[in-house]
Amino acid sequence: MELLANLQVGFATALTLQNLLYAFLGCLIGTLIGVLPGLGPIATIAMLLPATYALPPTAALIMLAGIYYGAQYGGSTTAILVNIPGETSSVITCLDGYQMARRGRAGVALSTAGLSSFFAGCVATLILAAFAPPLAEIAFKFGPAEYFSLMVLGLIGAVVLASGNLIKAIGMILLGLLLGLVGTDINSGVARYSFDIPELSDGIGFVVIAMGVFGFAEVLVNVEQKEAREIFTNKLSSLFPSKADFKRMIAPVLRGTTLGSALGILPGGGAALASFGAYTLEKKLSKYKAEFGKGAIEGVAAPESANNAAAQTSFIPLLTLGIPPNAVMALMIGAMTIHNIQPGPQVMSSNPALFWGLIASMWIGNLMLIILNLPLIGIWVKLLAVPYRYLYPAILVFCCIGVYTVNNNTFDVLMTAAFGVLGYIFIKLKCEPAPLLLGVVLGPMMEENFRRALLLSRGDFSIFFTRGLSLTLLLMALALVVMVALPAIKNKRAEAFQEE
């Protein structure tokens, strides 16, 4: 059993005291920011990226991954108790979770969310461990043409599955691609779009863009709004679901896990889409249709298991192909490059301890989260009472220090402020910024593979269509575009995102 041997390597790595500590720290921070509305995992990971410099790469990645799936747990706590989704992926949990809380079943809702997430996390970790090696095998057959086509598919997938205006989303990707091209061209050594500013010749830092467009812009929008929160904390007495509750949970959790795992792997998928899909599916299949929206336990169990499963399987394209399926994974690529690890199929063979350690740590992290969450719910609830006027200066402080320490450079801080303005404009123009971040990361990779492919074919563009694997990927991208353009599906899609 190779899988078992690999997992053994993984657990040996993940169970060292240092890595356990950082997994714990990651889960703790993740839950914390999940609970705090107005601070998402993207901004937090960007903020903490520089702080992981000093850590060994394995510990750094374990911690950052912990933040991501920890945020999925924390987000549901606020969704249930306050009807404020801490994360976009827990928007759906508000529907039935909050209703359960209003009926005095807050404790049951919270433990249902926790247990479903834990189960889904365990399954998804196994899926990740089982599917990553064969996928990496395929990835080794990829040439530059295939990589280019794969990135096209990834980017198209990201916009098709994202909500909102399709053309605007493509525009945001292109904008990201262009921003990613600023800096010295590695082939010719020419500094592009740097206008003799030395700080720009290395390119615009990824952290700068992420923090400005996500971190600062989110703060600006939240400061605008007046505070009004109502917290449901009265009765948290009965934490554990009854036997009847368990019976009703089983099938939704299984379906949610399956759907979430599948959607997580898809480019552009991820936790938010998965939870939405699982809820819709459950509503169609459930025997208790009438209870949905009024506190059905299935309405908590299914989306919660789906978002956690998706959060974990979205690591598959990252770890096997080196291609991020969503903005958080784009940041993980940033983290890997900071530590001089080239993301891609070779990670598994060149850094087996890191690869399997990360996977094993996810399982351990899930266990920690359930221990962390259920008994400590009271503390998390208290945190919710921290007014935003204390919170946002703290966010700004961590952002500024984070940006500064990447290069010990104050110019980066000023640039982040500029991107904050841009991010604020995006929000006012209703442009979803996540595709931009994907573009920034993929821009240089795409150009490099595009160049190499055409160099090999001596300028013949047909190389993208004559190689079977590349053609298949491009056809899949085309199929996605056609699918969305069809009127019937277009309306369904609009309807689906409306409900959200």
């Binding site: 702080a51 000093a54 205006n165 053309i167 605007k168 493509i170 525009g171 292109l174 691609l177 262009l178 091209l181 061209d185 082939n187 010719s188 020419v190 592009r192 779009y193 600062f216 703060v219 600006l220 400061v223 605008e224 007046k226 505070e227 007014p387 935003y388 006027r389 204390y390 946002y392 200066p393 703290a394 700004l396 402080v397 952002c399 500024c400 220090i401 500064y404 320490t405 010990n408 104050t410 110019f411 801080v413 000023l414 982040t416 402020a417 904050g420 303005v421 604020y424 404009i425 006012k428 123009l429 209703k430 442009c431 595009f450 160049r451 055409l454 160099l455 001596r458 013949d460 563009f461």
Partner: protein, 153 residues
Amino acid sequence: MKIRSHQDFWTGLLFAATGAFFTGFASSYSMGTAAKMGPGYFPFWIGLLQIILGAVVIISSMRNSTAEERIARFDLKSLVLVLGAVVLFGLLLKPLGLALTLFILIAVSSLASHEFSWKATVANAIVLISLCFAVFVWGLKLQFPLWPSFFQI
């Protein structure tokens, strides 16, 4: 023709302008051929694509079938205070050192809140500055200028 969706109109303009910017400057770099691309090749075409896309968004913002939409008001006061505080941090960190600059960052940005009070802000600043020194300076041992440069002779 009348602009119906102001959001889309300005988005399209933003896209077209950035596309034009990148395409325009790309032609000042060497273009090369498809087989041997110069640094200008890829940005030139992506920029061009972006111009076209921008034009499409602008045109669709004027179609009669488009729902009428205005842009929500910009809260300039918060924008200037919050991001101004960040700019001050960037400009003053080297001359004034971390402790003072953090205080300025926290104080100025707090002014943007609807419920500002000096007492709470100072308390918040003391807590945050101590935390930063504990975590970043002593814990992670990151390098900062800590105190004003004119103190150290």
